[in-house]
């Protein structure tokens, strides 16, 4: 490192003699990717003080001495480029953007560009390019591990499935704890709704922010601190993410055309292990159609085909099923003590994952046309993504996006621009989770010796009656005309459909008026409207709906936003400058849903028509909500002594969701100071330090209540039960009674208020080859609106109240270094690290609050504990925390809850490195999330079924025998499915009795035994890129360049977690984290892409 620097310095001085000038070179400098002309680029003769600057058209002219042989082109934000002069007199150069975040321009909360070096809050920027190159089809997951302090978790591996994004820990419990997304100054929806029959956890829903085409994104800025976000008031408590879409640039009228095509191949990356040692049955005996896999030892069967009971009248005759290939299956005699295998002879076992998963793929095509002159710029783009998921059928995601961004300077004082994006998304997803039609649930519970591939046929009953389209599954092996209990996952894939069709338009129009050099007035108005039309179709004979089910859900959201603001500049003298900005914001959000569902379909195969059932089997519903806010805001920026930059903001906001017993107006202030230390003379001594900035800031943001929480309401009576589907008064039998809501309204709700203090330091060293940035923060959210559980005997279960206090503190570090940069070879390393500690400070006196989307009541808030700790059961313990063993030597079921895990990561980090040689570059990104607990309910539940990989072992009882949990003595020398363990009172047998009792997550004996460490390190991305843009290539093809790249995404995963990829959550982007219950698996991908630039 230092050696390289020294070499550089010596080289620099050795050329510093000035020679005679005898040659003039001219040329033009443009930006490499967009062909935008670059004014203000320094052109210098290497080793001399001779220099020139490009004009407004990007042109330069420089006279050089004959001895000169290298020209150096440099500009802030661009990679410095050296060109050998040779005999050329005209040298045109394309400069490439420097991804390092040097003195660059960023966009602040209301969409005004400002210089990063003068900005006091911590802002992380992700370039659109690096999202597009990540190999993720979606924006959210494409940002993973690229910036510090941002935790992104995908909801599942289905195509188009949403993700969860969290900045600096959880700050609220109210509604959705996601950051506010702003596209080109317009807040947009990132809703992630689950409605209809899928509401429980059947379908992974999309995140609406993923509707935006990553290829359209210029940059994403993450405003993590409250002071940066304060201008968004009550919507900014979870942070603000500012997305800027690509614009055209001044190309002197030249048209730029970029076409990019990418092809991805996706495979399942990690699955829970299954056993294939023991067959279907119980107690060591084979039993066809049995629920569980505690049957006979498969390897000790005789082999060959199974013995069927084929003669009507014989004991055990049950009819038969005829499969499409003509083969037939009859009942197989059960095993007995004398013959454990019964009629089961075959030793074949089947891979139940291979049956349902394939290599998924997507093909993405993007075309963009852009250009402009000194007055107007435009960009038009079209993107198409077509993805087939890893599940073999009815799993897809299609995204068509179009965008037009245009702007023009009408005259000296008026500028207008419009950015409009349209997206059409259509997708199909498979059932997952705690759901008998779930893909993984059916696949993993199937015994190893049952072939799921024969999933449908014709059942002929004992009386000879035939039933077509029978659903054949391991619990209904003959396809009898009754419930299949757990669906055959293959039947499911081909019969149950869940689709979603989204049409979305997002756009802004903006007028900038500059009546005087010191005054600028901006008016901006925008919309974000979408409709999501969902259909869920369960075929007849499905496990959940025996007689079929159809639901149509329509979800419509409309957002309208207007900002008008004026900013005035004033320069008092060289030492003092200031800007004052005053604005008004109006925002309106309307949301409505309509849902209709029918069960007991009259014609099972009819199209998706809601008239295909009796009226008594129709359930209809609708809901609507309207939220309006208006606000006045003020921002003052002061610059002093060319080193102090002070920003003060304030927003006075009124929102319509407050009850009438509280004021509807609230004020949110912030203050931020940046101090460029390196402007001090004292720092001149430190030659290696190019730039140092100290940041201090403080701010407040809030969260407004959800609408309609102020009153207690009455609705048509609907009563549920954990294990049945409940009763509804809408039946004509019940005459339409109403019931009082279990939620007590509160007319006094105020906004939640988060106060954050942040301290940061940014450094650039060694000619900006090394950068470092550190931020520490502390925030506290007060008056958190909590659906506080109340004793049910009050007649209510919940009262919404401003009750909780939450706090987060943490540290974020970002660093980068160009380790080698010579002779066309570049090697740089960048890293980020963040750690957040959150704490529930108080719950207004309540001792525990279970989060509304907690699965098995796991995720809870407890004062003094981190957010969302797992609060559930463990085996009975004595005062010293040791398990109290029963007389057989086994721990005993717990009867109440305790803290059994913490799903919050201790820290997370990313480490990226780029090796580049001329036009070839390799980027590698590792990431790690550490210390987060995940509840592996899949393992816990499979234990009671007997199919889990841990259950394929055979143990032999030692002399004297062994007790199992029921106290049954296993005689010495006899073998059993399971293993021997010791809980502290001598060896005991873990066998079927244990797994179907205390050793399972199907009951509450101990959920703690299934809480695992979800820490994971992954090779998140590896991208090899080659750019072909040589002079001869350009001459020959008339193309600017062709880029080839090969990306591997999620290539290697290192984790101790025994289930699917721990980056998963059964309740999606909810508040409860780290819950795995038969979640569909994640993927690893290879992506090939080709980009042609004209």
């Amino acid at each position: 490192m230092i050696k390289t620097l020294l070499t550089g310095i010596i080289v620099f001085f050795s050329f510093s003699q000035i020679s005679a000038q005898d040659k003039i070179i001219t040329g033009k400098v443009t930006e490499n990717e967009t062909s935008a002309v670059l004014p203000g680029v320094s052109v210098g003769v290497k080793g001399t003080g001779i220099g020139a600057v490009t004009n407004n058209e990007g042109k330069y002219s420089i006279s050089i001495p004959s001895s000169a042989n290298v020209l150096v082109f440099s500009q802030v934000g661009m990679q410095t480029t050296e060109i050998s002069i040779g005999t050329q007199l005209n040298i045109n150069v394309r400069l490439t953007q420097d991804n390092k975040q040097l003195n660059e321009v960023i966009v602040n909360a209301i969409g005004i560009e400002t210089q990063r070096d003068k900005f006091a809050s911590s802002v992380s920027t992700v370039k659109g390019k690096s999202i597009a190159q990540s190999g993720e089809a979606n924006l959210l997951t494409g940002m993973s591990s690229k910036v510090s302090g941002v935790l992104i978790t995908r909801n599942g591996g289905d195509p188009g499935s949403g993700g969860y994004i969290q900045l600096r820990g959880q700050n609220t419990i109210n509604g959705n704890a996601q950051p506010l997304f702003i596209i080109d100054g317009m807040p947009v929806s990132n809703s992630n709704d689950n409605v209809g029959a899928a509401a429980a956890n059947g379908i992974v829903q999309q995140s609406r922010i993923n509707d935006i085409n990553p290829a359209d994104i210029e940059s994403v800025e993450v405003l993590k601190g409250a002071s940066a976000a304060a201008l968004w008031g009550t919507r900014a408590a979870n942070g603000v993410i500012i997305i800027k879409t690509k614009r055209g640039s001044n190309t002197n009228g030249k048209l730029n055309i970029t076409y990019k095509s990418a092809l991805s191949f996706d495979r399942v990356n990690k699955l829970p292990a299954l056993q294939s040692t023991y067959g279907q049955g119980s107690g060591g005996y084979y039993n066809q159609g049995n629920k569980v896999s505690f049957g006979d030892l498969i390897s000790s069967r005789s082999g060959g085909s199974d013995t069927y009971i084929t003669r009507p009248g014989d004991a055990g005759y049950q009819g038969y099923v005829t499969f499409p290939n003509g083969s037939q299956r009859y009942a197989i005699p059960s095993g007995t003590a004398a013959s454990p295998h019964g009629g089961k002879n075959s030793t074949d076992t089947y891979d139940h994952y291979d049956d349902i998963f394939q290599t998924g793929h997507f093909w993405e095509n993007n075309l963009s046309l852009s250009g402009g002159d000194s007055k107007s710029t435009f960009l038009m783009s079209y993107g198409n993504l077509k993805q087939d998921g890893i599940a073999k059928a009815l799993s897809s995601y299609g995204r068509n996006t179009a965008r037009i961004n245009a702007s023009t300077q009408f005259n000296s004082w008026l500028r207008g621009s419009a950015n409009v994006g349209y997206a059409k998304i259509s997708s199909q997803r498979n059932q997952e989770g705690d759901n008998v039609d779930g893909l993984m649930l059916g696949a993993t519970r199937t015994p190893a010796d049952f072939d799921n591939r024969d999933y449908a046929g014709t059942y002929t009953s004992i009386t000879g009656e035939q039933f077509q389209n029978a659903h054949v599954s391991y619990r209904n092996p003959l396809g009898k005309d009754l419930g299949t209990i757990y669906a055959n996952p293959i039947w499911n894939l081909f019969n149950n459909r869940n689709s979603s069709d989204v049409d979305r338009i997002t756009g802004t129009m903006e007028l900038n008026v500059t009546p005087a050099a010191w005054l600028n007035v901006t008016g901006r108005t925008g919309i974000d409207n979408f409709s999501d039309d969902r259909t869920e179709r369960f075929a007849r004979n499905s496990a959940t709906f025996l007689n079929g089910y159809l639901s149509k859900n329509l979800l419509v959201e409309k957002q309208f936003n207007t900002d008008v603001f004026a900013s005035a500049n004033k320069t008092w003298n060289n030492q003092f400058k200031g800007t004052l900005l005053a604005g008004f914001n109006y925002n309106s959000r309307r949301r409505s849903t309509r849902s209709d569902a029918i069960s007991n379909l009259i014609i099972p195969t009819a199209p998706d028509i809601l008239t295909n059932a009796l009226n008594s089997n129709l359930v209809a519903g609708n809901s609507t909500s309207l939220i309006r806010t208006y606000a006045y805001y003020l921002q003052t920026d002061l610059e002093a002594l060319d080193m102090f930059y002070l920003t003060l903001t304030g927003r006075d906001e009124s929102a319509s969701t407050f009850g009438n017993k509280t004021s509807s107006s609230f004020f949110f202030p912030s203050a931020a100071l940046a101090w460029q230390l390196t402007k001090l003379k004292a720092f001149n001594q430190l030659g290696f330090l190019d730039f140092a900035k100290l940041r201090v800031n403080w701010g407040q943001v809030g969260i407004q209540p959800q609408p309609y929480q102020n009153l207690t309401v009455f609705s048509p009576a609907v009563y549920g039960d954990t294990f049945t589907r409940g009763l509804s008064s809408t039946s004509s039998l019940y005459g339409g009674g109403y019931s009082r809501s279990f939620i007590e309204g509160n007319n006094y709700l105020k906004p939640e208020r988060k106060t954050e203090t942040e301290l940061g330091l940014d450094l650039r060293m060694f000619k900006s080859r090394v950068t470092f940035s550190a931020t520490v923060y502390h925030n506290k959210t007060k008056d958190v609106i909590l659906s506080l559980g109340v004793p049910n005997e009050t007649g209510f279960t919940v009262r919404n109240t401003n009750a909780a206090v939450l706090s987060n503190k943490g540290i974020e570090l970002d660093g980068g270094a160009d380790i080698i940069n010579q002779n066309g070879f570049r090697w740089n390393v960048s890293a980020n690290f963040s750690a957040n500690r959150n704490k529930v400070v108080s719950l207004a006196g309540a001792s525990v609050y279970t989060l509304p989307d907690a699965f098995l009541q796991l995720a809870s808030l407890i004062p003094g504990q981190p957010f969302g700790v797992f609060y559930s059961t463990d085996f009975l313990k004595d005062g010293s925390g040791k398990y109290i063993l029963d007389k057989n030597g086994f721990p005993q079921p717990g009867i109440s809850n305790e803290i059994v895990g913490n799903p919050n990561p201790k820290w997370q980090g990313g480490l990226g490195t780029t090796f580049a040689y001329k036009n070839l570059s390799l980027y590698i990104l590792f990431s790690r999330v550490a210390g987060n607990a995940v509840f592996n309910g899949t393992r816990g539940s499979l234990y009671s079924i007997g199919t889990h990989g841990d259950q394929g072992q055979t143990a032999t009882a030692p002399a004297g025998g062994l007790r199992d949990v029921n106290g049954t003595l296993i005689p010495g020398g006899s073998s059993f499915q399971g293993y021997i363990t010791d809980f502290g009172a001598g060896p005991v047998a873990i066998n079927q009795a244990w797994w179907q009792g205390r050793g399972s997550a199907s009951n509450t004996a101990s959920y703690k035994q299934f809480v695992e460490d979800g820490s994971a390190t992954r090779l998140r991305e590896a991208t090899l890129t080659y750019t072909l843009n040589s002079h001869s290539f350009q001459q020959f093809t008339h193309l600017a360049a062709v880029d080839f790249s090969l990306t591997g995404r999620n290539l290697v995963l290192w984790t101790k977690y025994t289930g699917v990829d721990p980056e998963t959550n059964v309740t999606g982007a909810g508040l409860s984290r780290g819950q795995d219950w038969f979640n569909n698996p994640n993927t690893r991908s290879f992506i090939f892409s080709l980009q042609i630039r004209y």
């Binding site: 089997n617 208006y630 294990f723 049945t724 009050t794 079921p893």
Partner: protein, 476 residues
């Protein structure tokens, strides 16, 4: 400069406009009121909703756990396999919708009071008592005296179980008084249990009083109120059911045949065993075959499994489910009289049940006549060698009581009163019990554990937390 003036003027107009109109922005029907719900309902509509809640509470998971612990039902898979092994914790239990439904029954009374409607109030009181009786029978000490008043009692105390029993008797006494008023409104169109027949509601209140007296061993009072209780099978309090999943299907059908197929069954249950023992037995006056086939069916969920009859029997989708029945009333009468030594009267009450069963009547439906026989018993049938003396007891009272409690156990199919009997009969004098085996271990389940939500929210939950094997005061 001209531009500047224009812009400043425009801004001023715009700013004034917005300032003036801002307040109006919140003047919208979808902001001023909740567009998705009403904030008040009338008494009859609230009554309909409350009745449905009371109905669900009599066929929910609590009732199925009680049935498994009473030996009626067998747990076979997933969560119910754990429940059957008595593996439960605080998080398995909930008071939702139990207490909110009781709160609505209380709200009915407040609304009835303000309208001067005695009948409406009386129905609300019966519903409140039905729900609180379930709470105290399963959980022992529960909140009642301070319940349903969040403002005054945000964390209600837990009343002693026997105090709750006394309070329930008083609530029911008031109900009877109100239902006896000469005028009132009982809303026939919304009352899907009794179609506004206040006499039937009054009888139901008395049957419930009799049940609660029987629980505490006050047989004279039990007798007194049972005599004013439900007097005919067509006055049973039943929740009707239909065919729409998630709307009106019988919740046991839902559980057995739709939502949790094969998770429970009747294989090896004591109920099946008891009924089998009454088929082709020495008791020639009784043939339980038809009722057995009405209750159970073989091979629905798996080969040879004994399942609830969801095809053509007790658990079809449209089968009504009982809250309080004529059979229960008569068997309270029979047991109280038998314990008081009034054997002829006890026998008459028992025979009234048999006579109705002989007509195939159960819970508002009719079962097959094939294999159906319930001839009237005589006292001689309970002699030491009597045909109805299945245990061969030398004591007439014991023999008669054994037959009565057997009949109760059968009639209480999937009612938590079977679990009440399981615990009550272990302490009632003289001691007569069915030999219901334990599912596992050596301890009898005695109660449910207080819900975790209650532990989290109410500091008055009795400590230390009682486990499922701790006896309740009323069933010592």
């Amino acid at each position: 400069m001209k531009n500047l003036t224009t812009v400043v003027l425009m801004c001023a107009v715009l700013a004034l406009g917005t300032l003036n109109s801002c307040k109006k922005l919140f003047d919208n029907p979808d902001i001023n009121a909740n567009p998705n719900a009403v904030t008040n309902v009338d008494l009859q509509t609230l009554m309909g909703g409350t009745l449905l809640g009371v109905g669900l509470l009599h066929e929910d998971t609590d009732v199925r756990i009680a049935a498994m612990w009473a030996g009626q039902l067998t747990g076979l898979s997933r969560a119910h396999l754990g429940y059957a092994q008595y593996i439960v914790s605080a998080q398995n239990f909930t008071w939702v919708p139990l207490y909110p439904v009781a709160g609505q029954a209380r709200l009915m009374q407040l609304k009835a009071d303000s309208a001067g409607n005695a009948w409406g109030k009386g129905i609300g009181q019966v519903l409140e008592a039905l729900v609180i009786a379930k709470a105290t029978d399963l959980y022992g000490d529960v909140p009642y005296s301070q319940a349903f008043d969040a403002v005054r009692y945000p964390t209600p105390v837990f009343d002693k179980q026997l105090d709750v029993y006394a309070a329930l008797q008083s609530t029911l006494d008031n109900a009877v008084i109100n239902l006896s008023a000469s005028t009132g409104s009982a809303y026939p169109a919304k009352d899907f249990i009794y179609k506004g027949d206040v006499k039937k509601w009054k009888a139901a209140a008395n049957t419930l009083k009799a049940r609660l007296y029987l629980h505490i061993g006050d047989y004279a009072q039990a007798l007194k109120y049972a005599q004013q209780g439900i007097a005919a099978a067509d006055a049973d309090a039943l929740i009707p059911h239909g065919s729409a999943i998630g709307v009106d299907i019988n919740q046991n059908y839902d559980f057995f045949a739709v939502s949790r197929i094969g998770d429970v069954g009747f294989d090896g249950s004591y109920l099946a065993k008891l009924m089998q023992s009454r088929i082709r037995s020495a008791n020639t006056k009784t043939d339980e075959t038809a009722l057995y086939n009405y209750f159970f069916k073989t091979g629905i969920t798996a080969t040879n499994s004994l399942d609830g009859n969801t095809v053509d029997g007790a658990f079809v989708a449209s089968a009504a489910h009982p809250l309080l029945t004529f059979y229960e009333n008569q068997l309270i009468l029979a047991e109280a009289q038998a314990r008081l030594g009034q054997y002829n009267e006890a026998l008459a009450a028992l025979n009234s049940v048999r006579a109705s069963l002989n007509n195939g009547v159960i819970n508002g439906r009719t079962f097959s006549s094939t294999g159906r026989r319930y001839d009237a018993y005589t006292l001689a049938d309970f002699g030491p060698a009597g045909l109805a003396n299945s245990t061969g007891s030398a004591n007439l009272q014991i023999a008669l009581l054994y037959e009565i409690i057997s009949q109760r156990y059968i009639c209480f199919l999937m009612q938590y009163e079977a679990f009440n009997d399981y615990r009550r009969l272990a302490g009632a004098v003289p001691l007569v019990q069915l030999p219901i085996p334990l599912n596992t271990g050596s301890q009898r389940p005695q109660r449910f554990i207080y819900p975790q939500v209650e532990i989290n929210t109410n500091p008055n939950v009795p400590k230390p937390l009682a486990d499922q094997f701790t006896k309740l005061p009323v069933f010592p």
